[in-house]
Structure formats: C-alpha cells, structure tokens
C-alpha cells in the first residue's frame, strides 16, 4: 500500500507558541485517516500545512510521492492535489451549487457531466441550480464534499466537518460521508476533537496532544491498547487503580485479572465502564452513588469498600438508583507502566 500523504517531522510555531512539534503522519491510499485531539493540539495546523495555507518551520510533506514542501520547496495550495472540506463548509455564497462544484474543474466539455456525477454521488442529483443558502446544513456539507471530490485530488482533507451540524443530523451525515468517501475510493484525512466521531469514522486514527502524535493505530486497537494513560482517558471513560503484575496476572484491590503484557511489577490498571458487569443485589459490595441514563444504556458511578470509585456501563433495563447496592464483576482490564507520563488530568466527577 502506498501513502497518499507523508508528513515528516513537521513543526510550526506562532510567535513563540508551538502549534506542531515534530509531527509525522502517513495516510495510506484509499483509507480514512483520523486526527483526534483536544483543542490546541495542532490537528488543524497539520491540515493547513498539508493544504499549503501555511508554511512549516521545519519538516516536509509529500503528496502522492511528490514533495510539496520542505526546506527548499513550497508548492502553493492551488498546485497541490489536495481537496479541502472546511468546518464552515466555505461554499461560495454567490455561486449556485453547480458552479461551486465546477469551480475546481478544468474548463471543457466534460465539466457538466462530472458535476452531475459528483452531485449524484453525494445524493444531490439535479440540484445544480440551487443557491447555497437555500440548502440545509447537511446538504451544504455534501456540496462542500462534492466540490472537493470533483477534481479527484490525491487526498481530501476534512477539518471538523461535522461540528457545524446539529446533533440529530450529525450521526447520519457522518455515516453518509464515510459511505461517499468509500464509494469514491478517496483517501481522506479528517480532523475532529470528538473521540467518538474519530473512532467511528476512521480506518486509522492518530491521537494528538500538544502538537505531537502520541499514538497511531486502528480505532479498535487504540481503544483496547492505548499507549499511555492520557490516550486511554482521552478515548473513553474509565478508572485507574494501582496493581502488581506477576506471571501474567495483575493483582489489584478489586481482584486478580489475567493480562497480556510484557510488564511485571507495579503497574496502573485501567478499568473501562463497559468491562464492569453490574447485577442487582441488595447484599452486593458496590454502592450506587450516581447514575446518568442515556436511553440505550446508563453510566453508573459506584463506591466500592466505602470510597473507591468505579464506573460501570449497564443496559437500559435494570434501574440502578443512588443508594442501591449491586454486585459487580470486572471482565477485562488494561495495564500501564506505573506513573507513566504524561499524567492524565484528574478524573472529573460525572454530572
């Protein structure tokens, strides 16, 4: 598999503030690569460097094997084979949908046909004459995608593409966009601060923090085997306890669990809420202190042994109310080197 994009050791700072620090990323052809991280982690800066809207201080970018920027080269954005879908969609407000989509196409006979094809691909066949302001947010989003796809660039860059949509639309549009990208066999890099969105949309996901990539892997592997505590906490809920590994078994105050790790000795153990199975039991060891109900499931905060906190995810059918007692069973844990850096932020109280 070849790489559509290869970023090597990119760094960029703005008046002394480091936005990107030794950033390296490869985006395999035909796949959706996600970039996720909290705000200020440098995701958008990375996209802007790839698109050519800004110049890196150091490092290089290759698009489809051709160097577009390094110490001695700078190819302006209009000469890179890179399409961009912006957070605010950035449709040309004075042009109809057809003209927006045709903007990046060379003048010629095939133009109208290509516009029609791309619009059909995004489910907007026959909408050429509409003006952007007449469309819903989701439709504008798809026009923006169609416009970026029309010239068939080597890579599509999507900058927080779903954040301007309201919650009910969001999941649907997200699925549609992923479907369209797959159908177009497009290579895409997409940026989000929403870890759930990142896990759902990406084939490969890079987690960023403070301008650096902390870990790159398939979403499933990232979630199951985060490289450090910070990545683990960023991607999902969970509680940490101290433990000791001996011979493939980790010993914690909450029990002994088999683990697959090369580590031995003192470790930190992450317990994800979905790995805590909860059963109604008036004589159980866990005291329910809080509950957030989401419809399809619920997140229950427990106190064990009169103080230790544990989170559990339970199905929607059993009602756990504060003050109830329950029995819990931990099915799986993840272990980390003790006090592995960087320190995650203090666990927040739910609610």
């Amino acid at each position: 598999m070849t790489d559509a994009i290869a970023c090597r050791h990119l760094s960029k700072s703005y008046s002394g503030v480091v936005a990107l620090d030794d950033f390296s990323l490869r985006a395999p052809e035909g796949e959706v690569t996600g970039l996720v991280g909290p705000s200020g982690s440098g995701k958008t800066t990375a996209l802007r460097l790839i698109a050519g809207f800004e110049r890196p201080d150091h490092g290089s970018v290759e698009v489809a094997g051709e160097t577009v920027v390094d110490e001695s080269t700078f190819v302006p954005p209009e000469q890179r084979s890179v399409g961009m879908v912006f957070q605010d969609f950035a449709l040309f407000p004075h042009m109809a949908v057809g003209a927006n989509v045709a903007y990046g196409l060379p003048k010629g006979a095939g133009r109208g046909g290509r516009v029609a094809d791309v619009l059909a691909m995004v489910g907007l066949a026959g909408m050429e004459k509409r003006m952007p302001h007449e469309l819903s947010g989701g439709e504008q989003q798809r026009v923006a995608l169609a416009r970026a796809l029309a010239p068939s660039p080597a890579v599509e860059l999507l900058d927080e593409p779903f954040s301007n949509l309201d919650a009910p639309q969001r999941e649907r549009v997200r699925r549609e966009v992923r479907g369209i990208l797959i159908e177009a066999r497009a290579t895409a890099i997409f940026v989000t601060h929403d870890q759930e969105e990142a896990l759902a949309v990406s084939d490969v996901l890079a987690v960023m923090r403070d301008g650096r990539v902390l870990q790159t892997a398939a979403p499933h592997d990232l979630y199951r085997k985060p490289a450090d505590r910070w990545v683990a906490r960023f991607l999902g809920e969970g509680e940490f306890v101290a433990g000791t590994v001996t011979g493939g078994i980790v010993d914690t105050p909450l029990g002994r669990f088999p683990v697959d790790t090369p580590l031995t000795g003192p470790v930190e153990v992450l317990i994800r809420p979905e790995h805590v199975r909860l059963t109604e039991d008036a004589g159980g060891a866990a005291l329910v202190v809080e509950r957030e109900f989401y419809g399809h499931d619920q997140l229950v905060t427990l106190h064990i042994d009169g103080g230790r906190r544990l989170l559990a995810r339970a199905g929607p059918d059993t009602i756990f109310s504060p003050g109830d007692h329950a029995r819990f069973e931990i099915t799986e844990v993840v272990v980390f080197e003790a006090a592995s850096s960087p320190q995650p932020p203090a666990p927040s109280q739910t609610g």
Partner: protein, 534 residues
Amino acid sequence: MTSAPADPSLAGPTPLDTRRPRPRTRAPWWLWVPALIALVPTVVPFGFLIGRVIGEGTAAARIVLSANTAYLVWNTSWLIALVVATTAIIGVGAAWLTERTDLPGRRIWRVVVALPLVIPSYVVALALLSATGPRGLLEQTLGVAVPSVVGLTGAWLALTVATYPFVYLTTATALRRMDPAHEEAARGLRASPWRVFRTIVVPQLRPSLGAGLLLVALYSLSDFGAVSLMRFDSFTRVVYAQYAGRLDRTPAAVLAALLVLLALVVVWAERATRGRAAYHWRSMPRPARIARLTGGNRIAALASLTALALVALGAPIGTLLGWLGRGTGSGRPFPWGAVAGSVAGSALAAGLVALLALPTAVLVTRHASRRTAWVERIAYTVFALPHITVGLAVVFFSARYLGGLYQSLIVLVLVYASIFFAQALGAARSSLLQVSPSVEEASRSLGAGPISTMLRVTAPMVRRGLVSGSLLVFLTTMKELPVTLLLRPTGFDTLAVGIWSSADSVLFSRAAGPALLLIAVSAVPMYLLATRER
C-alpha cells in the same frame, strides 16, 4: 458503541467555537503595490512639505511667531468653537426628538434632518451671500434691505448648516442602541426625567457625541469654500491667498504645516475629554422608552424642526431656485464642461479607489500585521488632513520633481483617490471581515491562484461594501474644492470650481444651476447608500 462523552475536561472546542483567530500568513510582495499607489501620492509630497518647512529654520519660525499667525489661530479657533457649540445643540436636540419622542412623522423627519449632508458648505455660503445684502435676492424680490451676511457670522452659519448632520447622525445612532435598562433603573430610583437625561443619557452619549463633534471641528478647520466665499480670515483662506498672491511660497508652506498641527490639537483634545468609562452597546437592544410630547411641547418640537428644515434645506435650495429663475434670461450657456469635468474626475477617482481598495483590504485583513496596521493608520490620517495642505504639498512636490505631470489629470485623480482612499478601504475591510477566510482557501485548494481567487471569489462577496465605498468616494470627490483648485489641469472645470469662481465674482445666477446640480448629483449616491443600509 460508547455514547457517554469521555472526560469532558479533555473535550475539544464546542461545535460553535469555530471562529478562533486564524494565524496570519505573510502577504506576497505584490499585494503591497496597490496600497503604495494609494498612499504615496499624498504621503511623499506631505513629507516633502514638512521637510521643506523644517529646512526653512528661522524664516519659518518668524512666520509662526508673527502677529498675523496669532490672529489666524484666534479667528479659526473662535469659528470652530462657535460651530461646535451650535451643532452640538442642534444635533443632540434633533436626535432626541426623532429617536426618543412620539413626534408625528418621525420617519420623515429623520431623513429631512440628515439631508443637508448633501449640501456642501460653500453652496450654503453662496446661498447666504446671494440672498442677503444690497442686490441680494431678498432685496430684489421683497424690496427690503437685508444686511449682508459675511465674515464670521456667515462662515459660522454656513458651516453649522453643513455639519450639524454629523452630530445628528452619530447621536441618533447612539440613542437607538443605548440600553434603556439604565434609564429605567434611574427612573426606578425616582430621578426626574431631566435628571435622567443629564446624568444617564448624556454621559452615555459622550463617545458618539465626541466623535460627531470631532468631525465637525475637523471639517470647520479644513473647510476652504465657505470661509473663502465669506471672506473670513481663517487658516485655509489665508494659506490659499498666500500661495496665489505671492511669489515667495514659504509663508504658504509654513502656514499649511501649522494647519496640520492644529488638526492634531483638535484630535488630541477630543481624546483627552473622552473620559475613562467603558460603555457597552447592545447589538439588538429593546426599543427605548419613548417620551410623550403633549400640547405645547409637541407644537414647539414641530416648530423647531420645521424651522431647522427651512433654514438648512429650504433657504439654500429656495435661494438657488430663485436665482435660477432670474438667470435664464441672461443667455449664458449652461456649464456642461464643468459637469463633464466633475463626473469624469469623480468617476475616475471612484473607479481607481475601488481597484486599489480590494487588494488593500485583503492585505490588511487576511495578512494583518503591525506593518499592515500602518497602512490603515496612514490612510485615515491622510483622509483627515486639511485638503488645502495636501493640495499645496502636491503642488510644491510635483512642480519640483515631476515637471510635465504637474497639473495633469493623472496627478489630480491619483491625489483624489489617495485623499478619499480610507472611505472605500473602511467599507471594503468591514465587509471582508464578515467573510470567512476559509472561502478563499477553498478556492485556492480548488486550483485558483491568489489573483484569480481575489477576482472570482473575494470581489463578488465584498461587492456591496466596495460599491458603497466607491459611491462615497464619488460623492466626496464631486464636492471637493481646494485640491481641485490647486491641481486641476488648465481648462479642466468642475461644478465646485465653477460655483466657487462665479460666487467670488458675484455672478450668482451663473452659480445657481451648477450648485443645484451638485446637490442633486450628491443626493443620488446618498440615497443609494441610505437604502442599501437597510
């Protein structure tokens, strides 16, 4: 599938937090060219003028310290003080009546009260001069001897009528946007309406009133047409007289430089009285409480606005129409050449400004930096400089260095564009700020280069601002007098110059037609601007 958000302290920006300031990129060098074309034609000659005055040394000092200069400063300050005081009373009073009372016909009054903005000060002066005095219109039609209105009184009246709309407009806007909650709170604390006005409304009006009065003061200081027609020895008139009447041009240069110094003093004085309180305007406030006018107050209010309209609009236009009626028999041809000159000069200036303002607006917004901030600062400074000084500076500079270009249409149009550049730049800049830069980036990533992007994407999106700005430039160039007088090519006539020269030689019937035409032509862009803003 997880649905609970992970640790919220780790979550990124909220979905709406999309407008974080974008890092600015350095502008390509060629984007500076239009800005330079717009500013160099006035900045370089002005620098030359200042250099020359400083170079004169003791000769300059002698002129500055002479009794004549003290007399000029006194005259000019006195005129400014009178005009500022009168316009403050008229402007605030009219704004209060049209914005905060149930005056009948408020919508129409708002237009009528602002309308004198289209009448240049020298046209008001011409009307005054030609209506009063021996052989004036009043004496000719009514047979009553009315004393001539000239000198300080004449200049004061003409400038008051021409400039009070500045105060009216800024104050009315402030009254409209003021949060009524403060007044309600004061009323709730049992303050009388008059005390509320004095202690709550006036202090909140101060920034806008100050801005309006600053415009009035700068206008009165820089005005050339009205004071010279009224033969009142303020700075501008004497600078021109020194230039036109003497071979030694040093006194004119020194006085012109001193005039700029006075302008700086005015600006500084406004800053110094601004006060320290911060006022917050609501963008969409509730409408303010409307005072009900009863009985006598209602009649008094209507009577005073009617009187204002009669003096500021009716009298000048009536006088001009009167002269037009009498002048038809004199057999003089209508000055079509002046019309053509005015329209051509203004249209060229407006077009050039539009061409230069778009790339410069891109420069100062999309590539904002300390250096681009100077472009804006200089543009606004040039705009505020007294035109007679700019005109003289260009005359001295081009006579010395440009030889053949001196008094050519090219120089004239370049200087017009330079003086009024700030108007179009401001308008283009504010509409560009409303357009997300990502739209231009989208164009770039779709294969369009920077110039193509500017023409195909940026220009259409900021078209409204650009057109409004150019209209404003067209309007102000039309009325421009001192620079035109100093720099016009031989044989090039404009309406403004025509009015000025025929009034000077007391040929009122000849000036009436051009004056009315100038008012009519000025009213068109004014009308377009007013209807666009809604």
